[in-house]
């Protein structure tokens, strides 16, 4: 899988893990014929609104692929970790379904959101069912011969991650009505909202492979730093990304007054008339195009983009340093590094 020049081919990683993972996910979500499950399949990208099979792209499945890679890198049989990798992806997706309701987002990945098609009450329910399915998925570890003690530990970690996710989401929603959010508040928020599930993916992947607590701890820490890298970079893309590759208007997160890192940094560090203007804009209920242009100008002036890029680079370096302390053979380490680099450099 590694090219002679030691450059990792990312596609070969996706190709190795994704189809098997997707089959596992489809098995778990396909357990019943009730239309409730069609709504889940729609969200997962497998069928259209009418339940007709779709070809092609679902999500990137970053978290479960990282889980499987971690298991493989530490000498485990990654296929044994499939139930728990699928569980992590289901927790991620249940939270997206609820997130779309909470944000009133009508589109995700270029398709109408679940609530936008089937209404909020049913969408709340689809998310709840997927949350419950995540546990069912994890407990399929029993069929792969995993020890009960490891299953209990994996369930505990997944449950904690799910709770941290809600805590991060709590902060995110409550920040909407506050302007005095500091960068430290923002970091607490994404630590729960995003990093917790990355951290959980890598930790459980490691647990499935080894009993070496130090390696497990380092992998968990690697996952946390990766998640932070991912989210901060995501925030940069949400403002300065290319609309054609990100699939959403670059201004939309500013129009929705999202407390992304560049904005939080701007609110915290702007002074004089810039501060006045920025705080004034973020106190408005609805932003007009001039407001958005002004926000962009102030953020540019403060080099909020450079600040955020720098921060994602810092987390990336922390991730690599965590990884360096785990004993892994070179080809496997190179693969994990390649995925980490992808999180930092991706364009969408």
């Amino acid at each position: 899988m590694i090219r002679p020049d030691n450059v990792v081919d990312l596609d070969s990683i996706w190709t190795r893990f994704r189809p098997v993972l997707e089959a596992e996910l489809k098995y778990v979500v396909g357990r019943a014929s009730l239309p409730l499950y069609d709504m889940m399949r729609y969200h997962m990208g497998w069928v259209d609104e009418a339940g007709r099979t779709l070809e092609g792209t679902a999500g990137k499945r970053l978290r479960p692929v990282l889980c499987l890679l971690a298991c493989h890198a530490l000498g485990g049989e990654w296929r044994q970790a499939l139930p728990v990798a699928a569980a992590v992806e289901l927790v991620h997706n249940f939270s997206l379904i609820h997130d779309d309701i909470q944000d009133s987002s009508t589109e995700r990945r270029g398709r109408p959101t679940v609530w936008h098609i089937w209404g909020q009450p049913q969408a709340i329910n689809v998310g709840d069912a997927m949350h419950a399915l995540a546990l069912s998925s994890l407990l399929r570890l029993e069929d792969t011969g995993t020890a009960h003690s490891k299953m209990v530990r994996a369930a505990r970690i997944l449950g904690e991650a799910s709770l941290n996710l809600s805590e991060g989401q709590y902060r995110d929603i409550s920040y909407e009505s506050h302007l005095d959010i500091k960068v430290s508040d923002y970091l607490s928020m994404i630590s729960g909202k995003t990093a917790a599930l990355f951290s959980c993916s890598l930790e459980i992947g490691a647990i499935m492979a080894t009993d070496n607590e130090s390696d497990i701890y380092r992998m968990k820490s690697f996952g946390h730093s990766l998640g932070m890298t991912f989210q901060v970079h995501d925030d940069v893309l949400s403002i300065w990304g290319d609309e054609r590759t990100t699939g959403k208007s670059s201004a939309s997160d500013i129009r929705m007054k999202k407390k992304t890192l560049p904005v939080v940094y701007g609110l915290e560090t702007a002074t004089g008339s810039d501060a006045e203007r920025l705080w004034g804009i973020y106190q408005k209920d609805i932003l007009n195009p001039t407001d958005i242009k002004d926000v962009m100008q102030i953020l540019d002036k403060l080099d909020a983009r450079g600040y955020a890029q720098n921060m994602s680079k810092t987390y990336f370096n922390e991730a690599l340093s965590d990884l360096n302390e785990v004993y892994i053979a070179q080809p496997e380490k190179a693969e994990l590094e390649a995925v980490a680099a992808f999180l930092l450099d991706r364009k969408h």
Copy 2:
């Protein structure tokens, strides 16, 4: 605890289990100081909107008390089952928080609902966090020395119940826009929405006490029948209950066009002009007082109340017959029977 004349004192059952159970619940929900947890504590009835401690009544905690009673009746140490009893109650309450959003209910137990105070986005999140906490609570079984294999089994049962709950909720929501709902559809719905969690409570309680699979199966079945009894009786109360004891207007479930058993029975069996009138009313968006009066009159004419009471009595008898096949000493059996009778006879 049993009076000399062998009549069980229900209060003695509540007094024995509820305070210890409430302490367990408070411990699990009290894990962090984030306001998110205050919102959960508010819903559980322990604090007011401002976070000030409240005295007195929370919910009835029927499901966890039944779980503990089942464990005790089969010779188990009921205190060992506290984490899982609390987990069942948390699943029940997470579903109530989401239910109130789905139904746009502004009040529950005479107090504003979580979404009505903190908004829908945060209420979705409070429910999600409580769903995750249920698993954390269950996994505290490890501290009570429960074998990992039993913990895995309990987690599987709770996860399945949670999924069945969502399936029942799916049916409930989808029935709102349909008139051709049969009594059999209704029974599928409440089997998921209500009976699944009762069944889970009794099954897990039994598992904590015994390895006798036949007793476990009977207890599970007893729980299912109890849940059906409870829900059908609840439907009767929702239409013909005394407003002063139920705490909600008797007409509200009819005004909201809820597909309760008496209504489903009415829609299925009414003929001639009654059928025409009833179907006409249930096709309207908003019902006026005359509509509601007419519905009540048609239901009375069909003796829909007697039909429903008869059905809850039938499930009650099934419950007693399941219980009779479990080997339990008389005082403990009498207690379980007394709680079952309470579910059938309660006025609110």
